[in-house]
């Protein structure tokens, strides 16, 4: 199981802020692919991925228990 976090436009597209996903092994890219398939209305091209609250490259391994957040372009300040 991994924990997914959605924000801003992606939260609207997913209709939820978080969800859990059965998970054994894979990379950030694999999680991203799952999300793209699940929420086709959202364009993920500019999204960054954070694992356990740190930005990671797409090649980062994702382990059960991890928190994976999709970070659309930020607009704080």
């Amino acid at each position: 199981m991994i924990h997914l976090h959605y924000f801003a436009g992606l939260k609207d597209a997913a209709g939820k802020a978080e969800e859990s996903l059965p998970w054994e092994d894979g990379t950030a890219a694999d999680v991203l692919q799952w999300a793209k398939t699940s929420y086709p209305a959202f364009d993920f091209s500019a999204v960054q991925i954070a694992v356990n609250e740190e930005y990671v490259p797409r090649t980062e391994p994702v382990k059960p228990g991890d928190h994976v957040a999709f970070i659309p372009p930020v607009s704080g300040g």
Partner: protein, 150 residues
């Protein structure tokens, strides 16, 4: 007071800039700069009714603290506090406060501007503009309810 001030904080409460100024002020400081980002009513001829900010709070606070660490490393002797408000904000409300103290003024200005630039790049906080005739997440977000297809 009573409660201790968190120097890197994301909160849904109104921000009080003076608390952060006082927090960074100390005997070795000769300059304190404070930046307050406020909600502007008109942008490119469009009228904002109010804003809504959302954050990935634990990661945002971690990133704010990292920006603080970068600043004290780049500008030795400086002290920093950065706080961002989330939730619904009205026109002229303060969305972000950055307070920096430093022995000399040049560093206090530079470090403060560095902080806001970094916030706009790396801190997971999002702004939704609420206009008279619609709303939109700001940034380069590609999901717009109005343009959704099936």
């Amino acid at each position: 007071m009573g409660t201790e001030l968190k120097p890197f904080h994301v909160t849904d409460q109104p921000l009080e800039p003076v608390l952060y100024m006082e927090y960074v002020t100390h005997p070795e400081a000769g300059a304190v700069t404070l930046f307050a980002g406020t909600v502007r009513e008109w942008t490119n001829g469009k009228r904002t009714m109010y804003l809504k900010y959302e954050a990935y709070v634990p990661m945002a606070e971690k990133k704010l603290a990292q920006i603080g660490d970068e600043i004290t490393e780049k500008w030795p002797g400086s002290r920093v506090a950065i706080v961002h408000r989330i939730g619904e904000l009205a026109i002229s409300d303060i969305a972000v406060v950055i307070a920096v103290s430093s022995p000399h003024r040049k560093a206090a200005y530079e470090a403060n501007e560095y902080a806001i630039e970094q916030i706009k790049k790396v801190v997971p906080i999002w702004k939704k503009e609420m206009w008279e005739d619609g709303e939109e997440w700001i940034g380069d977000q590609s999901y717009k309810p109005g343009s959704e297809q099936a």
